[in-house]
């Protein structure tokens, strides 16, 4: 029966149908739902790994053992997994292995706009690029066939608009696939002598893949009567082109984005007057065409910045568009904010109050950078808060300065630990604050090694952060409740004053977790409130000033009481327990 599925859900369905039996991933928008959805199939073992490198290596191990395996990550996660990636390109696979990577053109929820297609070319690993959910399902299954036929991992490359759009799919049946493991040192032990023998095999494999790309059905030409222009495109850009042009111009729709065909593109180019390449982000297909000496237009018209839309494509192709009525009023922006009751809020308020230099990391708590808290100095990548702070303290006069790294529980597990080892080993004096909200928050509540539960929701081993930090060699490890502003203040003042590395674990579960019980909303006393706005310094969406008095939004307030601690006139009070 036909059904609506997110692109990510369709990849998960494809994994199921292809007989994939091992999945290991780290969450990252927009890739997360692939792994969450595949975990619902009991035939598939699925887990959250602490990071993408571990996930990819685990998937490789499962492939080695003879099973069809998979790992998923967002574009920046592929950077973390790049080390195993390039060598797995050499070894190839045993059971089929597919790598899901999701780009985020437009940076809806990312720190950069990198184009993962470059990784396919650089690591010499073929990449399929679906344009909707039906293709996401079909291409995932095809990827396993290619993986085993050509002895290589295969990428499924998603993007926000394919991952997070639902469209119609026709699900099918699952097949079971299994091979046996046989020891093969020349294939799997990549020391120089063996790797030198593998590299020519990889190059030969690419030549064969190019031949496949010349004739495969997923690189198709859709005819159009007007040959004044021909368009080569893929993924969501294909959808915009078709939306704008319909069947007017011939279109080459690429399903495999690396390696690219040569003769097929030459023939297509020769059949049209002007060849136009429509691709989001970098010049990739266009660069390929230029290498082949084919005249074409691409990045001269279409920007390498941001995502496309049908109007943008229409405008660049000279097709008229209409627009609606823009309202003549100043519409204030509505940026994302920390939720009411967020346990991070009290900590960030205290950091800002103490004028602490705070190197940040990746997670919900990045929102601590937003006014009025404005408590962060940097956000780079997973783990960079700790290692960055180490360098910062070593390179500057820290006497009398308060310098901290702020990192979440999941991010600390991902790649904060090695930074802390560096601090202990090389004797830093900074303070690491692990904001432990007992979940991976920003990506939508995924379990991690510190939560005590696994991806399937079953009880699992729980890493004890205090014990771990002490074992690394940090002598000063303390835990604070971020709802307790006085305790936060004392911990930050004391730990940043000592001349040795220290860890503060700011611990309280995310207010959005279902098991977290909220207090009754705070009660604002209009008679006592003088409108000093002390409570407004924490940027809580549940507090606003109405007619010069603090007002609590009872539908949002969780009664965390952080605002009440700021009010010197007791105008904000906890409700009496009944």
């Amino acid at each position: 029966m036909k059904t609506l599925m997110l692109g990510n859900e369709a990849v998960a369905r494809g994994l199921y149908e292809a007989g994939c039996s091992f999945v290991s991933s780290y969450p990252g928008t927009p890739s997360t739902e692939i792994t969450e959805c595949v975990a619902l199939y009991k035939e598939v073992y699925a887990e959250w790994a602490p990071n993408e490198k571990v996930a990819m290596e685990a998937a490789f191990g499962a492939s080695l053992a003879g099973k069809r395996s998979f790992c998923a990550m967002k574009h920046v996660g592929l950077n973390v997994a790049a080390d195993p990636l390039f060598t797995m390109g050499y070894t190839g696979v045993n059971g089929g292995m597919v790598i899901g990577v999701a780009d985020d053109a437009g940076m809806h929820s990312s720190q950069n706009e990198q184009d993962s297609r470059h990784y396919a070319r650089a690591s010499k690993i073929p990449m399929l690029e679906p344009a909707d959910s039906a293709e996401a399902l079909a291409f995932t299954k095809l990827a396993y066939d290619l993986s085993e036929q050509f002895d290589t991992p295969v990428f499924i490359k998603m993007c926000t608009r394919v991952s997070h759009s639902q469209s119609v799919v026709q699900p099918g049946e699952r097949i079971e696939v299994s091979k046996t493991y046989e020891k093969n040192p020349q294939k799997y032990i990549m020391m120089p002598g063996n790797a030198k023998l593998r590299h020519p095999i990889v190059e030969e494999r690419t030549r064969k893949l190019v031949q496949w790309a010349e004739t495969c059905e997923i690189n198709r030409i859709e005819e159009g009567a007007d040959r004044s222009m021909g368009i080569i495109t893929s993924s969501t850009s294909y959808q915009y082109v078709k939306e704008v042009c319909g069947d007017k111009y011939p279109v080459m729709k690429l399903g495999m984005i690396w390696p690219l065909p040569e003769q097929k593109i030459r023939d297509f180019a020769a059949s049209v007057e002007t060849l136009v390449i429509v691709e989001e982000l970098d010049s990739f297909v266009q660069t390929h065409c230029k290498e082949l000496g084919i005249a074409c237009v691409g990045k001269e018209k279409f920007s390498c910045i941001g995502e496309f839309s049908q109007n943008l494509v229409a405008e660049k192709l000279g097709v008229e568009t209409q627009t609606g009525i823009k309202l003549d009023a100043a519409i204030p922006p509505r940026p994302p904010v920390m939720c009411a009751g967020c346990p991070h809020r009290g900590l960030f308020y205290t950091l800002a109050k103490n004028k602490v230099t705070a190197l940040g990391d990746i997670g919900c708590y990045t929102l601590g950078a937003v006014p009025p808290l404005a408590a962060l100095d940097t956000t780079i990548c997973m783990g960079a808060s700790i290692s960055g702070m180490h360098g910062f303290t070593k390179a500057s006069d820290t006497e009398g300065k308060k310098i901290v790294a702020v990192i979440g529980d999941s991010t600390f597990m991902h790649s904060g630990m090695t930074g802390l080892v560096n601090m202990a080993y090389n004797e830093s004096c900074g303070t690491v604050i692990i904001v432990d909200n007992s979940i991976t928050g920003m990506t939508g509540h995924q379990q991690n090694p510190t939560t005590g539960f696994n991806l399937k929701g079953d009880p699992a081993a729980k890493i004890d952060l205090e014990t771990l930090c002490r074992a690394i060699g940090i002598r000063r490890v303390r835990v604070v409740d971020p709802y307790d502003l006085a305790a936060c203040d004392a911990a930050i003042k004391e730990e940043t004053a000592v001349n040795e590395p220290s860890v503060i674990i700011s611990r309280r579960p995310c207010a959005l977790l279902k098991y977290v019980k909220h207090n009754k909303p705070i009660i604002a006393d209009n008679d006592k409130c003088v409108g000093c706005k002390a409570c407004m310094k924490i940027g809580c969406p549940a507090i606003s000033m109405v007619d010069g008095k603090a007002k609590i939004d009872n539908t949002l307030c969780t009664g965390c009481g952080v605002c009440a601690q700021l009010c010197k006139l007791d105008a904000l009070q906890a409700a009496k327990e009944v």
């Binding site: 809806h108 608009r161 394919v162 639902q166 009525i325 509505r334 994302p336 939508g444 940027g539």
Partner: protein
């Protein structure tokens, strides 16, 4: 059939994903080609969110662009005003008159514009404004605003009431079914 475009806009956390799920299921039952494009990740944290629902014989783009929306269904007044440019000439805005201050307004860096519903009407926009929050509360939960709005939107489509209620049954957990059906009917009759 020419592709129909519905934008669902609001504030992250207001429940627009359930609204689009319901709409998607309804349209699938009717045999249309459909695309529903959602926002996940950071914007969900109280930011401005938009979901695009498109249906017809063949739908290509997953998003709706300026001048294309047949309907804008807004969970909040300011959000309706933010997206008016996306409305097609002759399109309709269905808006909940509830207001939620964004952080720049809360901190005093900006003002929440007054009289937005009237401003939209004065600008020549076809606005159907009503208090969906009050109806949701009447149905039993302020969280049912999403279904109240879908109920009101249903007035503009020729689909049978029973088909909508059937889609609700398949979209919400059993223990909230009655509440959501009530919310839908309150919105439909408003």
């Amino acid at each position: 059939m020419k592709t129909q475009n519905i934008m669902i806009v609001g504030v992250g956390g207001q429940g627009s994903l359930l609204a689009s799920k319901l709409l998607g299921r309804m349209l699938l039952q009717k045999g249309y080609d459909i695309k529903v494009s959602e926002v996940h990740g950071m914007s969900q944290r109280g930011g401005s969110v938009v979901t695009y629902v498109r249906f017809g014989d063949k739908v290509y783009s997953p998003v709706i662009d300026k001048g294309e929306a047949d309907f804008i269904v807004s969970f909040e007044l300011l959000e309706a005003a933010r997206w008016t440019e996306f409305l097609k000439p002759g399109g309709k805005i269905v808006v909940n008159t509830q207001t939620i201050s964004p952080m720049p307004v809360i901190t005093g860096a900006a003002e929440y514009p007054q009289g937005l519903a009237e401003k939209m009407q004065d600008a020549g926009l076809d606005v159907d404004a009503f208090d969906a929050l009050a109806l949701a509360e009447q149905a039993g939960s302020s969280k049912a605003v999403n279904i109240v709005l879908m109920g009101h939107l249903s007035r503009y489509f020729d689909f049978a009431e029973a088909e909508w209620l059937d889609a609700i049954e398949k979209s919400v957990p059993a223990k909230f079914l009655e509440l959501n059906k009530t919310a839908f009917m309150l919105g439909r009759n408003a």
